[in-house]
Amino acid sequence: MQKIEAIIRPDKLSVVKAALEDLAHGGMTLTEVRGHGVQRGVTEQWRGRTFAVEYLTKIKVEMVVKDADVDLVIQRIVEAARTGEVGDGKIFVSNVARAIRIRTGEQDDSAL
């Protein structure tokens, strides 16, 4: 099993989700994060003084999927989340040793 962590634009979440809907994936977990990369922040002001907000809100989508599904999921996410502008985000893939479904105690692939 692999964990796919995609850091995407908040407003792309619904598109990404739709793109993954038909896959038989078991679930996903979302976290609100703040990111900093090539993309720089916006300028805001407070009582006449401007300042840079250097971290922008992003959504981290985490999905643990079967090894066989990794490529397809990545491809779908890339297609759905891309705008071509800086700030589109990144995908990181790492190995997962075990998975357990708390409700049933099922393990690994059948737990996803």
Binding site: P10, D11, L13, S14, E32
Partner: protein, 473 residues
Amino acid sequence: MKKARSLSLAALIGGGLALLTVGVASAQTPDEIQASLDDLTAALDTMWLIVAATLVLFMQAGFALVEAGFVRSKNVTNILMKNVLDACFGAMVYFAVGFGLAYGAAEAATGFYGSGSFFMSGNTDYATFFFQFVFAATAATIVSGAMAERTKFSAYIVYTVFITGLIYPIVTHWIWDGNGFLTAFRDDPMNGVGVVDFAGSTVVHSVGGWAALVGAIMVGARKGRFVNGQVNAFPGHSLPLGVLGVFILWVGWYGFNAGSTLGMSGGLAEIAARVAVTTTLAAGAGGATAMLLSWIQHGKSDLSLTLNGILGGLVAITAGTATLEPWAAIVAGVVAGFIIVYGVALLDTLKIDDPVGAVPVHLLNGIWGTLAVGLLSSEALMDNAYGVTSTWGILLGGGTDLFVTQLVGIAATAVWVVLASGILFGIIKATIGLRVSEAEEDAGLDVYEHGMEAYPEFTGGRDPFATLSGTGR
């Protein structure tokens, strides 16, 4: 005359230049002068009632904010809904039956309940109705705070209707209606004085407070609050809401207390001004005392208790606001501060769960305020406000008549409200049920009862998931 009035209306609205005095004809004969004086007097007193009632209605917002700020965010929509509906249903119910039970003066009326004026039939004293309604709404609103975070919404609707329509009006009749068996306004008041409750420490706050206590006991404590002999704190989710609510209540209290002169003419203005001062001093003393006590106890000053302390001081001065001298108002407020700090702790010991402190604020201080009249009222002010010269505060040498009468008022109210609300909550419990399910309590009443979160966005401050949460069905 009516034509004239409508013309004057036209003139006032239409001609930007028209002087405001055109409404008054050139009265010169003694009779005309008298008519003008009567009109001005009525206008002035009515205006005061309307302004004061508007301030009291604003207190609904204050209660809503204090209660919302003091509960957890998962139950905020629910407590807001209840406060909103207290006003909405309250208006209907008090119009239909409540006002008549309180002040109806038909033949059927006795010293125990009024009759007549239902649906305002045959009664055109709208200013009085408006002023009395806002007090009724206040009494009803006290209960929702004590029963917050676990009471069924349908149960709430039933009990609020009965409190506004039946339980509260009866006590009003007893103590404030000229026919009431306990009132100071009868020709032959009890012990020559009757119960002195100027603006409602007993009539409004204790009534709400007793019902709140009975309700809090019958619905039981929130899950997880008292576990294995340990008392867990459930901090309220927003102190700014709580503080704003308390300030709004404080401001509204000038309508509540000073407005209870019911007029400004005939020397009442002087009483109203003094009432404003005693109200201010008691509020300040209550807040300062609770703050200092909490600081001494825990080494840190506690804003939540300070807020309760201010409200406690306000409730405590409500009965005696016209008959206590300023120094006595400060005494009343200081004692109120103690009552808050120890009263909150006492409820914890008794395992009674009152999320917002309605019982210490409204019940305990409502009782204390009513007793304070019997202890601290000055001779001169009892005469000035009630025309009573035979008895005044026991501690100032005024004998026991007043104090004993106050005790009777407290006791009568306690018996009636505890019985009536006990039966009411008992019936509700046996039929539609009083309490939500455990699952609902865990998840919060907002989603289960109303399908609506108070802050539906992820962080309360920015919503990356907004585009999703709105997928329609």
